[in-house]
């Protein structure tokens, strides 16, 4: 199946998967809720009944930094909680991916690309549970790809160091930094894309051969390098456009009153939902692309 057709199908499937998007959004909201309560306790404690709380309704970087400096220990605790939640969410996301893929693949198999023929929740959560172990193993096996990524970083560092050792070309230091950042992002996206296809292979074949699926995915991606990359980047650009629209709206609202603060938060939730939509669209498009090719 060609790239644009896959993309279109992915968008269509995502747009009709409202329940799935709501589930994904709801989980992120639950995690954000924990952060909200932790943050709320921190900020309420730090600001106490200080008159400066009102001044901080409009952001004042100097005051804000001073507040953080005065509450360094609490900042450390909040940061640890956030890191722990992010770690948990990562594995939850692995779990949910099983649900997303099972739902999308089951719909394809059951009704020739017509969604909604079976009840959503059982298919979604059965899939999430069924594939979690396999996806967990996939994450472990993927360490070999991440090791290759680190090796690339190491080699790049050595090259950069040799090019800039004499310090006579300072611009080169910055160029190297930006090139490395850009290449790192490209590589991260590339590895994640390979893992997407590996998961699709696992779910479609309902196989426990995780290692083999990973290498099949690698072969598939390299065989269809232009197509897989193009599809992924079309989806990334879609995400970027969504983000720019969100940022454009978000940055124009001065959140000083409770009403505007909630409004900004609600707009943020629409953005998070749109990201969940994009996630489903991405998976659906990749399923379509890989299915059409096989």
């Amino acid at each position: 199946m060609n790239i644009l057709k896959s993309y279109g199908l992915g968008v269509k499937r995502a747009s009709s998967s409202v329940k799935m998007i709501l589930v994904l959004w709801a989980f992120s909201l639950i995690f954000a809720g924990v952060v909200y309560f932790v943050g709320s306790g921190f900020f309420a404690g730090a600001l106490d009944r200080s008159g400066l709380a009102e001044s901080l309704r409009q952001f004042d970087a100097g005051l804000f930094l001073e507040m953080l400096v005065h509450n360094q220990a609490s900042v450390g605790v909040v940061f640890k909680v956030i890191m722990m939640l992010a770690f948990l969410y990562f594995w939850l996301s692995v779990f949910l991916t099983g649900g997303i893929l099972n739902t999308l693949v089951s719909d394809n198999a059951a009704a020739g690309d017509e969604p909604g023929r079976r009840r959503f929740a059982p298919v979604f959560f059965q899939g999430a549970g069924r594939y979690f172990g396999r996806f967990f193993r996939l994450e472990v096996y993927s360490l070999i790809l991440w090791a290759a990524f680190l090796l690339f970083q190491l080699i790049f560092n050595l090259v950069a160091k040799s090019l800039t050792a004499d310090g006579t070309n300072e611009k080169m230091l910055y160029y190297m930094f930006w090139i490395r950042a850009g290449l790192s992002l490209v590589l991260i996206f590339f590895i994640r894309m390979i893992l997407d296809y590996a998961r699709i292979i696992i779910v479609r074949a309902d196989t426990g051969r995780v290692w083999r699926s990973l290498w099949e995915a690698v072969r598939f991606v390299f065989r269809r390098l232009f197509g897989t990359l193009a599809l992924y980047y079309v989806l990334l650009v879609t995400g970027l456009v969504i983000f720019l629209v969100y940022w454009g709206i978000h940055s124009r609202i001065s959140a000083g009153s409770p009403a505007t603060i909630w409004l900004v938060f609600l707009i943020g939730q629409v953005f998070v939902m749109s990201r969940s939509w994009l996630r489903v669209a991405c998976q659906a498009a990749e399923i379509a692309f890989s299915g059409g090719d096989q």
């Binding site: 909201l29 009944r49 200080s50 008159g51 901080l56 005065h70 990562f90 996301s93 300072e170 900004v264």
Partner: protein, 648 residues
């Protein structure tokens, strides 16, 4: 006639004291020839130094600083204290630095080389060779001069702490045998420590610098001669009177820019020389603009810039250890090729280091013993200059809504650490480099800003100008600064300086509590009569006008004392301003009024910048819910956005 004679005698005495046109009492006179040997990273030098015994007692020895020996090995006092790092830059153990005096004799007289010995007046570290003592064959009588010829060679370290080289960039500071300061017959000549800078007498410097062709050279003072030698080297001669040090730099990658700076009031005419590294040419307009601003601000605030040149040196990226350093009429700034406009680091460093031309260069306080007199006063001056030119709320950082002022920055330095040491302390006696920096730069700057807010801007301006005028080209102490401040302000400021400069405590006042309670109608026995409240909710009398008992308790949480102004506001818009001398640990204010209290705020205009916690300076009766909501929801949303990146 007697009057004319007296004036004549006074004039002659002054001429004898200073010579015609001299701005300082010229105690030293250095004539140096130095040759840079780039292949060996070495200097070969000859120095003729003449010293005037300006004390009332004979002096039988000389003491010299040999600062480069701080980098001689890992057991020097500097290296032991610093662990080989300075401001984040690390020593390169393949490139140590040192200075060796190879020959020393009285001018056209006895060879004294064998008499030299290293001494360690501060810590007794026998491995430290940064101070050299030279017993003289005979004492130097009061007002007598002695001339000494010295031959020396110096190896420059790879730069990590002010002086040294990187590739073909050379920053040659504190590089020659340099006399200490003799005060009343006693030498003030400290070792080179991690936290110490320098102290020397004013005088004349004439230095011939020989470098290979192709090097661009900058140095203290005016260039008076330039000679091309047969061996494909060039010799530049620089001359400057009324300075107490001489530094120079050489690098083939410097691009030189020269521009005149003139002011009519006060009259200033000087040449700005910018030596910008080829890699940083994009920053040249920022250097030039901030140097102009520095010249203008300091000349107008304190006194006209008195020298004919000022040289800005921009070190290359890998030699930033040489950056941000002051020498007379020359300073190093700090920038990188990529430096967003909103990050005003080049401007701040340029103004600060230029400012040292005043506070260190002209007002020559002892940086070893009372570093706040140059760093603190200069940070205060820098803060004012940055505020004036870049905006008081955004003078350091300005990226969209993120604005940070120089005062904010100084407070960030002070809040976490300054209670360990007092400001006035010998620099090597601070518990750490962090404590030294926080106290000597930031706390001292905030102390002066707080004093300005306390006395008024005009009075403070007069204090600073008087201090500069009275002590320029001399060696003032903290006591001298305090004396000027008290004289000009007409106030006893001992309580202020004793606390904020000489005590290691913190200043922290807080509004401890605010309460407001409606007063009850009378109930119980009054004059033998039992009064019962009228029926109603909680015994309140609906017909009676409501009266609230409003109570504010303020507290002194820190050790230091400062008079406090308290602004109490009520829900009906009334305001009451109270004064509290701040001496007791706490004080209660009670107001019986028909309106509820709304808030209480200490130091409502944030004038006491030394108060370490602005957040506890105020309290409201009803807490503001919007701010915690805004930041907590914002944090939750950012976290969700982060999670979406994790899962896509």
């Amino acid at each position: 006639m007697k009057r004319i004679l007296a004036m004549l005698l006074t004039g002659l005495w002054l001429v004898g004291l200073n010579g015609f046109g001299a701005l300082s009492r010229q105690i030293v006179d250095y004539r140096i020839q130095v040759k840079l040997q780039p292949e060996k990273k070495m200097l070969a030098g000859r120095e003729m130094v003449t010293w005037l015994n300006d004390s009332a007692v004979p002096v039988s020895e000389l003491q010299f600083h040999l600062y480069l020996n701080a980098f001689k090995n890992n057991r020097s006092t500097f290296m032991k204290e610093s662990g080989g790092t300075h401001r984040g830059f690390k020593v390169d153990e393949d490139d140590w630095g040192y200075i060796t005096v190879t020959r020393l004799r009285i001018k056209e007289g006895e060879d004294l080389t064998s008499r030299m010995e290293f001494i360690q007046p501060d810590d007794g570290n026998v491995d430290d060779q940064t101070v050299m003592r030279l017993p003289l064959p005979g004492p130097v009588a009061p007002q007598e001069r002695i001339a000494v010829e010295i031959e020396f060679e110096a190896k420059l370290p790879r730069v990590f702490a002010r002086s040294g080289f990187f590739d073909d960039f050379y920053m040659v500071g504190q590089w020659f045998p340099k006399l200490g300061v003799n005060q009343d017959g006693v030498w003030n000549c400290h070792q080179y420590h991690q936290n110490t800078e320098f102290f020397a007498d004013f005088g004349i410097f004439e230095v011939e610098i020989t470098v290979p062709e192709g090097f661009v050279v900058g140095a203290t003072g005016e260039r008076i001669k330039e000679v091309a030698n047969e061996d494909r080297t060039l010799t530049y001669t620089h001359y400057q009177e009324d300075v107490h040090d001489f530094a120079w730099t050489a690098c083939p990658d410097f691009v030189e820019f020269r521009e005149r700076f003139s002011l009519e009031d006060p009259p200033v005419d000087t040449e700005m020389i910018l030596l910008v590294h080829r890699q940083h040419l994009n920053q040249q307009p920022r250097f030039l603009d901030s140097l102009r601003k520095g010249l203008e601000f300091y000349s107008r605030s304190y006194g006209p810039y008195p020298y004919k040149t000022v040289t800005l040196v921009d070190p290359p990226f890998k030699a930033l250890g040489a950056g941000g350093m002051e020498y007379p009429t020359l300073f190093t700034t700090m920038a990188t090729w990529f430096m967003p406009e909103g990050l005003r680091m080049p401007e701040m460093v340029t103004i600060h280091e230029f400012g040292h031309g005043y506070w260190y260069g002209i007002v020559g306080s002892n940086e070893f013993e009372e570093a706040w007199l140059d760093e603190g006063i200069n940070s205060y001056s820098e803060m004012k200059a940055m505020d004036e030119y870049y905006g008081h709320d955004r003078s350091m950082v300005e990226f969209g809504p993120i604005k940070i002022s120089d005062a904010d920055y100084q407070r960030m330095q002070v809040i976490p650490i300054f209670a360990w040491d007092p400001v006035v302390r010998k620099s090597w006696e601070f518990i750490s480099g962090g404590s030294y920096g926080s106290n000597v730069y930031s706390k001292a700057a905030l102390t002066l800003k707080t004093l300005e807010n306390h006395l008024g801007e005009k009075v403070m301006a007069r204090i600073m100008r008087t201090y500069y005028e009275r002590w320029k080209f001399r060696h003032p102490t903290t006591a001298d600064f305090i004396a000027v401040a008290e004289e000009v302000s007409g106030r006893d400021l001992g309580w202020f300086f004793d606390q904020f400069l000489k005590t290691a405590g913190s200043l922290d006042y807080a509004v401890s509590s605010v309460r407001s309670q409606e007063e009850m109608a009378p109930a119980g026995y009054y004059g033998g009569e039992l009064l019962a409240p009228k029926p109603g909710k909680s015994g309140r009398d609906k017909d009676r006008e409501k009266v609230f008992r409003n109570e504010v308790v303020v507290q002194r949480k820190g050790e230091l004392v400062f008079p406090q102004e308290i602004l109490v506001t009520f829900e009906n818009g009334d305001e009451v301003r109270e004064m509290w001398d701040g001496r007791e640990r706490w004080k209660r204010f009670v107001y019986e009024r028909p309106s509820k209290l709304k808030s209480a705020c200490l130091d409502p205009e944030n004038r006491i910048l030394l108060d370490v916690d602005f957040f506890n300076n105020s309290k409201v009766l009803k807490p503001d819910r919007a701010s915690p909501l805004k930041y907590a929801l914002g944090l939750a949303l950012k976290f969700q956005e982060f999670l979406t990146c994790l899962s896509f």
